[in-house]
Symmetry: C2
Subunit: 534 residues, 2 copies
């Protein structure tokens, strides 16, 4: 298995935990009214777990498939596979609430073992939660409750399926097992001079299978595309047999069934291999900052880039609040007040001419200048690049300091973005009083873009219930304002009802029909994605 396990009660490598700077503490105190003393997480050994519900014969049957060494029921293994990394998940874990723990963790070593596990678990009504990097922020990994009619719940950890299977340098296709973590995938590809170019916030721990199952999109999506753009083929083990899809980049052979697996979040089957479009690794990278007077002006500028080109590799526009909060040194933002910061990054395999960093940067600069942008040079871009994966560490420190911080996101067509932006902010303010709400546009398309919100608020007595109220209000606002309930976090359990509203009853009935056909016992990630049949 690749990499070290992540901090069970928070994010990442415990050695990289961040002290909150005094200026942040002052902000929390003076602007958000955070008064609570620091509340450290309980120790791992103090997490309260339910007893293992699976019988010894059943555990033996699972061990018969994967070998006894790969069926784990230890306290630590169960804690480490309890929930994902949403803020409610972390708040519960920090408080020692391990009620959603699986009974066992099972680690298959091959497609055939996955298929056999699904057969055994279907026959015995054992719920199966496919588990990649464990980074879901939408309740995608929450085990079913004991009263759900299952004999037990296993986390199906794909960490042993961690190989690069093949590289086709002519077609620029690499075949991977699903449990490969993103940094390891990049390391393996770098040996061939290749890259995926997929760098979501969860990059350091998330797996390729998880990216596909949840339709991930990374910080360089403008240049490298979404993860679903990268998937050209999939092998999927389902309780009723194996799906093997993808004979060509594109096809007119019926509905694209790959697109039914992408985003299926382990509810239809378990991805056991992926064929991914890769790119030649860039030889040059450059990041820069631009300033716009208002979020509306900046949005018009990123829209112009998306519709006219050239599209940078990385493109991120912060609203006024995010710009103000995010700036360690507000004087770097230029002459006219804080305004809005745009980060543009360019990567290229060419040193000069068409497609080079210089040519694209110059082309984009012409558009950004025309749209009222003021160039800020390389420093803001490099600062962003330096800190691009640090936000989840900051969240842990804020949670400990008595502030709730969480993110949520949506996407819509350009003409609808202002309505979506206002609706979400209003809903959060209505539910939380005076939260700090920051937003950025970070994934753009010709016809629209995503909006990514970060919310900070002083914790109330029951911070989970407090956040759930806010989340419900935001979900309702997104549905009403016509956006999609998620641009790249996925559906899981937190977005399931809003997702049902989004695709409507006929859409839901399609999902239920596919689920019933592929997983007739309903063991796969029950409760996630697909609303239960009424």
């Amino acid at each position: 298995m690749s990499g070290e396990p992540m901090l069970w009660s928070g994010w990442g490598d415990p050695a990289l935990a961040r002290e909150l700077p005094e200026q942040v503490r002052a902000l929390l105190r003076d602007f958000l009214g955070v008064r609570a003393p620091d509340a450290p997480a309980v120790g791992l050994e103090s997490v309260r777990l339910p007893p293992v519900a699976l019988s010894e014969p059943l555990l033996g049957a699972l061990a018969g498939v994967v070998g006894p060494a790969y069926v784990l029921t230890s306290h630590e293994a169960r804690v480490r596979h309890t929930r994902g990394k949403s803020t409610p998940d972390l708040l519960r874990m920090r408080a020692g609430d391990g009620s959603a723990a699986p009974d066992a963790v099972v680690l298959p070593g091959s497609h055939e073992e996955v298929a056999e596990l699904l057969r055994v678990c279907s026959a015995e009504r054992v719920a199966v939660i496919p588990f990649g990097g464990g980074t879901s922020v939408v309740g995608g990994l929450t085990a079913a409750t004991p009263d759900s009619g299952f004999t037990g719940v296993v986390a199906l950890d794909l960490g042993r399926l961690d190989r690069l299977l093949s590289v086709d340098p002519e077609s620029l296709v690499a075949s991977f097992e699903p449990g490969v973590r993103a940094p390891e995938a990049e390391r393996l590809l770098a040996a061939h001079g290749l890259t995926l170019g997929h760098f979501p916030q969860s990059f350091e721990y998330a797996t390729l299978g998880g990216f596909a199952a949840a339709r991930s999109s990374g910080q360089a999506s403008a240049g490298y595309g979404r993860f679903d753009d990268m998937v050209v083929g999939l092998t999927v083990a389902t309780p009723t047999g194996t799906l093997d899809l993808g004979r060509a980049p594109k096809s007119a052979a019926g509905p694209d069934l790959r697109q039914l697996v992408l985003g299926s979040e382990g509810a239809f089957g378990v991805i056991t291999s992926l064929r991914l479009r890769v790119r030649r690794a860039p030889e040059e990278r450059r990041y820069e900052g631009w300033r716009f007077g208002t979020f509306a002006e900046g949005t018009a500028a990123v829209r112009a880039l998306a519709q006219e080109g050239p599209l940078p590799t990385v493109l991120r526009l912060s609203d006024e609040t995010e710009t103000m909060i995010g700036l360690a040194k507000p004087d770097t933002i230029g002459s006219g007040g804080s305004g809005c910061l745009l980060i543009a990054g360019y990567e290229s395999t060419r040193a000069s001419g068409w497609g080079s960093v210089a040519a694209r940067q110059a082309g984009a600069a012409a558009v950004l200048s025309r749209m009222g942008g003021e160039p800020l040079g390389a420093e803001p871009g490099e600062a962003w690049e330096h800190g691009r994966f640090s936000a989840p560490y900051l969240r842990d420190s804020l949670l400990a300091a008595g502030a709730t911080v969480e993110t949520l996101e949506t996407a819509g067509f350009w003409a609808n973005l202002p309505r979506l932006y206002d609706a979400v902010r209003l809903a959060l303010a209505g539910a939380l009083g005076s939260p700090l709400v920051m937003c950025h546009v970070s994934h753009v398309y010709e016809t629209g873009a995503s909006l990514y919100f970060t919310v900070v608020v002083a914790q109330e007595g029951d911070p989970v219930a407090q956040w759930e109220r806010a989340k419900e209000a935001a979900n309702a606002a997104i549905v009403t304002a016509g956006g999609t309930i998620t641009h790249h976090h996925g559906v899981g359990r937190e977005h399931r009802d809003a997702y049902a509203a989004e695709v409507g009853p006929v859409g839901v009935s399609i999902l239920q029909a596919v689920k019933a056909r592929l997983d007739p016992a309903g063991i796969l990630n029950p409760g996630a994605l697909v609303p239960p049949t009424a």
Copy 2:
């Protein structure tokens, strides 16, 4: 309704029928052994149709939904909705075989009327064949046979749903009804300075709904994308309710159900409106030719363009045979023998700088020269542009002259293309003796491309059976060689079995489950796309 009806026994406007040049007649005679005298099509009035199977009360019920003026049972209306435009379709129609005619043609005027028709036809077990431009070349429109258990068959002609509903110039999204023909869509969009950029061979008659239902891809797909790339939203009437999909360009909200409707060929529902990504109309267009010594060298060059850029708007590489046959003036192909002709077209909204025709043409020229290409200047490109929609007319003349001509296509990953190319040619030679087989690459992706074959052979006594043998052999070769059974023609009935092999039994079971859920009576385009449940 937009546009004139098409020649019932062939393609297009009868006034544009082409006389075969003597050099083509000589080729047919001397190289293919075509000996048959010209065989004209029977007159429309001589086409033999089965009696109308639908009862008067049932026809009355349909008229109750759409009005009596829009339920047609005339000889001419039925003939004009019999079959599509594949060569076997035309051979049968020319011989007066109208056995696959629908009993009636029904023309709904709204989404609500479509939905109500589906309810009535489900209750009465009337098969419904959604009918757009009638240009299917894969048996997508063949009515069910009388012994299939249906009380009758109607063609659901969407020609009255022919409006541009709205234009969102900020999001670059236009909303259309499905029956708009492509030239009319371009005309409507041109008034807003916009274009779809979708120019398949069927452009002059095909409809937007048909493009979506069959996952069309046009001659400018390198620049404007496939039609499925253009669809950002869909409304679909199904027998069990309405689907309304597409709140954002992209989403992580579960499987992309739009991709389940795209390519569903009327078997799951009837598309009643489409939201399409449009582009600003280009101000400059330039087409040019390049010569490569061999198809392999040319393929490597188009692969380099697809993987490194810049991608022209139009890109088409003919193999040696197609190059030789296609050249009216063989001396235009340059110095080193015939070789292979590459057509590159560039369109842009910019007069200069990044993204302009000049910049992209120069960037592509650098790649093509490096890969061994020899520039031929504008003339071959302009000749291609001039004749880009004329091939179907030529086919009619060849059919009349005793030659069968038909096309078929596939797609695969770059490393697999040579195997696919050889396999299809061998299969056709095995089935047909010494056919003339031409091929081009005309849709490219980073990871692969399509292969488009044109086959010409002297007609035997039963030319339909002769072609069906060849088609079966080609289908089997594509499946065995690992390609997709169709890149842009669709599945229909001719590719259904190969499609089933391509997606496997689990894939087929998904299609059957969706079909059973949305169309429980099985009335929608029965026999197309979805293999019947065993």
